[in-house]
């Protein structure tokens, strides 16, 4: 069992040994992939300890909670051992996206631990905690399927910094913007789906937000014990709603 309570300095109360370990839960439900993972954040790194990911666009609500339970069981931890929660804020199709955010928010409320949000596209476009997928100076377009023949997209520089986005557009619009920005590659499930329209070489992985990357992008906040934030989804679209005309005739 990971006996360390979240955020507690090992070695006794008040002891500053210069390192700490925080057990972090990460969830993302912004794409067809439903992800739950546990990572240990230490002073000098992020280590993924357990990971569950299921690709099923129609079952986010059913899949996520059992996956959270499973990753806790994988490392013999209890919810009270968690020190922080990191959640992918999207953009993503609304209904599925909310599952991850409400799960993170409610668990954070019960446990009294901070919740941190990360743009889910960053979990695809950033090279990740090891930098293993870094490609020097090359710029990459991240595209996730937004349904309705559109993509959620953003552009990253060679260091994984987001320089444009997130936005939602038709793939052809994203492709034109990418050309203007001298992008040389595309990545993400939206890039796979619209590879012909985008006209860019495909980077095969990651197809969905990478759990270790999401944690790494929040690691500084975890280490600093920064105050948690309200998890506000990146919807990028207004809700579909048609205003009713006043006193409309209801005669057949």
């Amino acid at each position: 069992m990971l006996a360390r309570a979240g955020g507690v300095w090992p070695g006794g109360a008040g002891g500053r040994l210069g390192w700490l370990t925080v057990l972090v839960l990460v969830v993302d439900s912004s794409t067809p992939a439903v992800t739950a993972a546990l990572a240990e954040v230490t002073a000098d790194g992020v280590a993924l300890r357990a990971h569950r990911c299921t690709v099923d666009a129609r079952a986010h609500g059913e899949l996520l909670a059992p996956q959270v339970e499973a990753v806790l069981a994988d490392v013999d931890a209890r919810p009270a051992d968690l020190g922080a929660i990191v959640a992918g804020l999207g953009p993503g199709p609304f209904t599925g996206l909310r599952v991850g955010l409400v799960t993170a928010a409610t668990m954070g409320q019960v446990l009294g631990i901070p919740t941190y949000g990360v743009c889910s596209l960053d979990g695809i476009g950033h090279p990740g905690p090891t930098g293993g997928t870094a490609v020097g100076e090359r710029r990459v377009l991240v595209a996730a399927d937004a349904r309705r023949k559109e993509v959620y997209w953003a552009v990253y520089d060679g260091d994984g910094r987001r320089i444009v986005g997130p936005e939602v557009d038709a793939p052809a619009v994203a492709a034109a913007r990418a050309r203007e920005l001298a992008v040389t590659e595309a990545v993400g499930d939206g890039a796979h789906r619209y590879v012909d329209v985008l006209g860019l070489p495909l980077r095969a992985e990651p197809r969905y937000p990478d759990a270790a990357t999401l944690v790494a992008l929040a690691a500084a906040r975890v280490r600093a014990g920064a105050p948690g934030e309200t998890l506000t989804p990146l919807y990028l679209r207004r809700p579909d709603a048609v205003a009713a005309t006043s006193r409309k005739s209801v005669l057949p």
């Binding site: 059913e62 339970e69 609304f94 209904t95 409400v102 799960t103 668990m107 019960v110 006193r247 005669l251």
Partner: protein
């Protein structure tokens, strides 16, 4: 009693985010956040607007409920949540929230039927429900007559609306009369100054032949059209529309059909208790008419106070408490939100 189960209920099936806390039949907290004002300009509930509002409201509403009850989630014995029927995206927020709370606090979760919860809420005011009972649930989303033999195991649907829900008819007639959304309370208020006998509006599915095929079913579409025709006729003739009279006559027709069919179900099933729930049960004329007519047949009408008739978290907690007391097993963590959950399923 302190040894009765402490149950938390979460409701998000439509536009109200509700968190209720009960101990047995005792109501401890009933916190509510409504997105109704955001829907008003659309003349009806917009699903995506409701879902977004639930996500924003759930954590603060939970905080308010826990503070009002003076308990923490660690004290709770079980969490109940509406898993259906309702708006799919709205339900999903509540179900995912309930799982998050249950997971983190290591408590069991019960996915429950919204309509059964409308029946169960009455136990918070009037104690345990005698079995069997007839229940009539009338709101903007549903109009059902049910026979309740064992609320923990299942209810038997007797009839339902074949077109508009009763509350929907109130909304549409209110719009026709230039009254705000939701229409129920405004029609009720206008009707007090009107003459219910001034206009003869039709009573749907009450003709002899309809009473064979649709004995306990309702229809409000024809009534709505009749009101529209009458009002447009006046406008075309350049005459003023007597809003109070139209409201009173329309309301009288709805209440006449509802109470008539509900009491017929009681008599024909030999049952002496009628429970009325749902938002339309807050209507003052329905409450009065049901009480007067029931007295003639020695039938007792149980109606929760108006604040508990509309959607809320307390009703879900009340049903949860009933399920826990009856020894029903909790749901699994993969419990789905089911927008079309049948009445025969009380807990998932």
């Amino acid at each position: 009693m302190a040894d009765e189960p402490l149950i938390l209920g979460i409701e998000t099936s439509c536009d109200e985010t509700g968190v209720g806390i009960v101990r047995g039949h005792t109501l401890l907290a009933d916190a509510l956040a409504s997105s109704v004002d955001e829907h008003a300009r659309f003349g009806g509930v917009v699903p995506e607007v409701a879902s977004r509002a639930h996500l924003e409201a759930i954590v603060p509403t939970m905080d308010r409920a826990l503070r009002a009850a003076g308990v923490t989630l660690a004290d709770i014995d079980a969490i109940a949540v509406t898993s259906g029927p309702g708006l799919a995206g709205a339900l999903l927020v509540g179900v995912a929230a309930a799982k998050g709370y249950a997971l983190a606090a290591e408590k069991p979760v019960y996915g429950v039927n919204h309509l059964a919860a409308h029946v169960a809420v009455d136990t918070l005011e009037h104690g345990p429900l005698p079995a069997p009972a007839i229940a009539m649930l009338v709101s903007g989303g549903h109009s059902s007559l049910l026979r309740v033999d064992d609320l923990a195991r299942g209810v038997t649907p007797l009839g339902a609306t074949i077109d508009d829900a009763a509350g929907e008819a109130f909304d549409k007639v209110a719009r026709l009369l230039g009254l705000p959304f939701p229409g129920g309370p405004y029609i009720d208020r206008e009707a007090r100054a009107g003459d219910p006998a001034s206009i003869a509006f039709p009573r749907g599915l009450t003709a002899a032949k309809d009473l064979v095929a649709h004995r306990y079913d309702f229809s409000f579409s024809g009534l709505k059209t009749a009101v529209a025709r009458w009002v447009e006729g006046r406008r075309r003739a350049g005459e003023p529309v007597p809003v109070a009279d139209v409201a009173a006559a329309f309301q009288e027709a709805v209440c006449d059909v509802l109470t008539g069919k509900a009491l017929a179900a009681c008599r024909e099933h030999g049952i002496d208790t009628l429970v009325i729930g749902g938002g339309v049960a807050a209507n003052s004329r329905l409450r009065a008419m049901a009480g007067q007519r029931a007295q003639r047949y020695g039938i007792r009408v149980r109606t929760p106070r108006p604040g508990l008739c509309t959607d809320n978290g307390a009703m879900v907690a009340a049903l949860g408490a009933h399920l826990v007391a009856a020894g029903v097993r909790p749901s699994r963590l993969d419990l789905p939100a089911d927008s079309a959950l049948p009445l025969t399923t009380v807990s998932v």
